[in-house]
Symmetry: C2
Subunit: 208 residues, 2 copies
């Protein structure tokens, strides 16, 4: 039999998660992946799967957790790089797009999971988005750019912002990763979306 090569602990686990993401990155839908398929892609025997996950839903849930880390990294970078308020939207969108490109499979998985098969994964992703929106609201509060909005209205605004960006994600993931022209179009459009929303927020008082 082939030698058993155990390296670092948790290595196979990671290989399996990466394999699932790789398949998603190749255009497959997470819901259509099977255990054997994933283990094959990972170069591991099918039985190994059960050492780390109970089933594919379980693997999906653990991917959601890692997705949370990716999002947090992105937030940190945005906080560090967006210094001047006047370019806030442009720069944030740019950072978002570059992260989405760098972690294409992850974001693909996220976009799929929003309407996915597993209720738990769905709820997990939704919860990550809520967290993201609330962090955004905190940042904006801290920057005192939106003092005229009630907390509730600010939360709503940020929710809408996150949703719009998430939807742009599906545009972005639909075009090939090196189609610079299309990507630039998406960047511009997303930026204008957010500008429109913030113009609305700025005048919300009068309409609320």
């Amino acid at each position: 039999m082939a030698e058993k090569q155990r390296r670092k602990p948790g290595e196979t686990r990671e290989k399996l998660m990466t394999a699932a993401l790789t398949l998603v990155g190749k255009g497959r839908h997470f819901a259509s992946l099977g255990i054997r398929e994933v283990t094959r892609q990972a170069g591991v025997v099918p039985t190994s799967f059960y050492r780390h996950f109970r089933n594919m839903d379980d693997l999906g849930l653990q991917l959601v957790d890692e997705l949370g880390l990716v999002l947090r990294r992105m937030m940190r970078e945005a906080r560090a790089n967006v210094l001047q308020a006047d370019k806030l939207i442009e720069e944030s969108v740019a950072i978002f797009i570059s992260h989405a490109q760098a972690n294409r499979s992850f974001f693909l998985f996220m976009a799929q999971g929003l309407a996915g098969e597993s209720r738990a994964v769905q709820e997990g992703i939704r919860s990550e988005m809520r967290f993201f929106a609330s962090e955004l609201a905190n940042d904006l509060r801290r920057m005192r750019l939106v003092d005229h909005l009630t907390d509730q209205d600010l939360d709503m605004t940020c929710d809408l912002v996150v949703r719009s960006v998430a939807f742009s994600l599906t545009d972005l993931l639909g075009v090939s990763a090196d189609d610079d022209y299309q990507i630039e179009q998406i960047r511009k459009r997303t930026t204008r979306f957010l500008q429109l929303i913030f113009v609305g927020a700025a005048h919300w008082q009068s309409a609320g």
Copy 2:
């Protein structure tokens, strides 16, 4: 052998499409459906599938076409029922939600397809959404509520509106169909999203 019961032409075809939608309505993801599974649900022998569709992607494409009809019906009803401009948003959202409930499986399929496995289905749904947005823009132009916007800015606004509503769809489809409280929350939130967007559009000139 069981009698062969041929009824109306195209009946089996419809049964297969309905069967796929039914499975989607039960929580399955379209990408994970198989031919045998669908024919089983339709009460038809697997071989019959090939008389009407080349594969599951083909069936998906034909579902997108029918989805177009559903959307057009919804638009027609909205046009007929939204008479006074001041309640335009509220009433449109209400009509949308009632249609989404009445055609739950269809809209579930649409939400799934946006990040689905088949590029063609994806593009089809996206195209339906673009059409919807452009029709909305035409209606608004006709009502002369947004004369200060350029055509391009109006298109962008409508695009954002349609996206926001589509995203609310995933909220709506995530809650049980008779959870009136949650549905009401979603209705309110979606309404406020659109109001925020239109406030933004109303003041866009100054920022554009």
